[in-house]
Symmetry: C2
Subunit: 243 residues, 2 copies
C-alpha cells in the first residue's frame, strides 16, 4: 500500500489516496481518534472520481461516528483497464433497461460474476493492508453496493462482521444460494422505484439471507435518491455493531 | 374527557387515565415540557391492560423526545362490550391461521371494516378533547396498529400530519383504494415473518400508499418481536416530522 496524496479535510478527517498494486483507493481516518478506529469499507458502483462527492460525504459522516472508511476502484472502472466482455454486458443491460424489457439472467451473469470474482480478492488484499496500519483496528463493516460484491465478501471474509448493503443492482441467480450462507447482521437499503433494478428480486434476495438479524429499509426517490435520514439509520446500524 | 387517575412515573412522565363517554384511555405527558407538546396517538390491537407494558414503554420513549402520547381502548376489546359479529370474525380468522389456510377476504372485511368504522370517530373525538388541553399542542402523529385504522385516520383526519404504521394485521382489499389517498409522510414497520399477517399484502399496501415520503422497515422476529432499534428509528421519524 503506497500513499500518493494526503490532505486534511476541514472537519478533522485525514484523506489519503493510495495504490495497492494497480488498484487505486482512498482512506479516510478521523484525526482525533486516540485508539485504532473500526473500519467501514465503502462499496460503490465504480468510478472513484465520479462517485467522490457521495463517498466523501459518507466518509465524513462515518468519521464523526468514530469510524475509518476506505474504498477502492472497481475492476474495469475509472482509470483502470476496461474489459471488452464487461463493456458488452453493460451495454446489453442498458439496452434492455432502456427498452423496458426484462433483463436476461445471462446478461446479469456476464456483467456481475466476473466483477465479483475479481473485486472480492482485491478488497481482501486491501483489508490486509488497512488492518496493518496502527490507526485502524477492527471490527470491519462493508457498506454500499455492488450488492453482489457485498454478499460474496460477507460469505468468504470472516473479518467482516456487519454489512449495510444497497440493493440497487442486479444479482446473479446463482448467488442467491450464497446469500443463504450470509449470517452476519445485515441492513439492506432498497429504493422502492429504482429504475435500474428489479424490486421483486431484491425482496427475494432479502428473504434469502441467512442472517438472524436483517432489516430491509425501502425508501422513495429513485436509484440515486436515498434520503438523508436513511443514511442516519445506516450510521446507527454500524454504531450498534462495530463499536 | 374525565380524568380518573393520575400518577407520576419515575422518569418525569405524568400518566393519567381518562374516560371519554364509554371509552377508556390513557394520556402520558412529559412533566418538564414548558410549551404545549406535540402529540402521538398510540395505536394497538386492543386490550389496554394486556398492552400496557408495551404502551408505557413507547410513551416513556416518546416523552423523552418531548412528545405527549395517548391511547384509547378499541371497540369490543378490554372492558368494553363485545360484538358477537366481531367475536365470530375473530374466531374465523384464528381458525384459518391455525389451519395454515389462506385467509378469506370476507373474514377480514367482517373483522376489520366495522372496527375501523367505529374506532376512527372515537379517535377523532379523543383528539378534539386532547387538543383542548393546554399542555398539548400539535402537530399530531399516529403510531402503531391497527393499520387499517391508521389508514382511515390518515385519510379523513387532517390534523394528523405523519404516521408510523405497524403492518401487522390484515387490511380489507377495499381499503387499498383509501391507501392511495394517503399523502402524509409514512413510516411502515413490517415483521418479515409475521405469523398473523400476509407479507405480500403488506408489500402491496406499502406500494399503494400515495405518500411521496414513505419508508418500509422490515425486521425479523415474528409479530411481537419488533427489535428495540426499530423503535429508535420510528422515534427519529416522528422527531423529524412533528418537531
Amino acid at each position: 500500500m503506497r500513499f500518493t496524496s494526503e490532505q486534511r479535510l476541514d472537519d478533522g478527517v485525514l484523506e489519503r489516496e493510495f495504490t495497492l498494486g494497480e488498484v487505486p483507493g482512498i482512506l479516510w481516518t478521523p484525526v482525533s481518534a486516540s485508539v485504532p478506529a473500526p473500519l467501514i469499507l465503502l462499496g460503490h458502483p465504480g468510478g472513484l472520481h465520479r462517485m467522490y462527492p457521495r463517498l466523501v460525504a459518507r466518509a465524513r459522516r462515518s468519521a464523526a461516528d468514530g469510524f475509518a472508511t476506505a474504498t477502492i476502484e472497481l475492476p474495469g472502472s475509472g482509470d483502470r483497464p476496461r474489459s471488452d466482455a464487461a463493456e458488452q454486458a453493460r451495454a446489453d443491460l442498458r439496452r434492455a433497461l432502456e427498452a423496458g424489457e426484462p433483463v436476461d439472467e445471462e446478461i446479469v451473469d456476464r456483467l456481475v460474476l466476473p466483477l465479483v470474482a475479481k473485486a472480492v480478492p482485491e478488497w481482501r488484499t486491501t483489508l490486509d493492508a488497512l488492518l496493518s496500519l496502527p490507526e485502524i483496528g477492527g471490527p470491519v463493516g462493508y457498506s454500499g453496493g455492488v450488492i453482489a460484491i457485498g454478499i460474496r465478501l460477507a460469505v468468504v471474509e470472516p473479518r467482516i462482521s456487519a454489512a449495510g448493503l444497497f440493493a440497487g443492482s442486479f444479482v446473479p441467480r446463482t448467488m442467491f444460494e450464497e446469500a443463504r450462507r450470509v449470517t452476519i447482521p445485515l441492513h439492506v437499503l432498497l429504493q422502492w422505484d429504482d429504475e435500474g433494478n428489479d424490486r421483486q428480486a431484491a425482496l427475494d434476495l432479502f428473504d434469502a439471507f441467512g442472517s438472524k438479524e436483517k432489516s430491509l429499509h425501502a425508501n422513495m426517490g429513485g436509484h440515486t435518491g436515498v434520503p438523508q435520514f436513511a443514511g442516519d439509520v445506516v450510521a446507527g446500524f454500524f454504531t450498534r455493531h462495530l463499536r
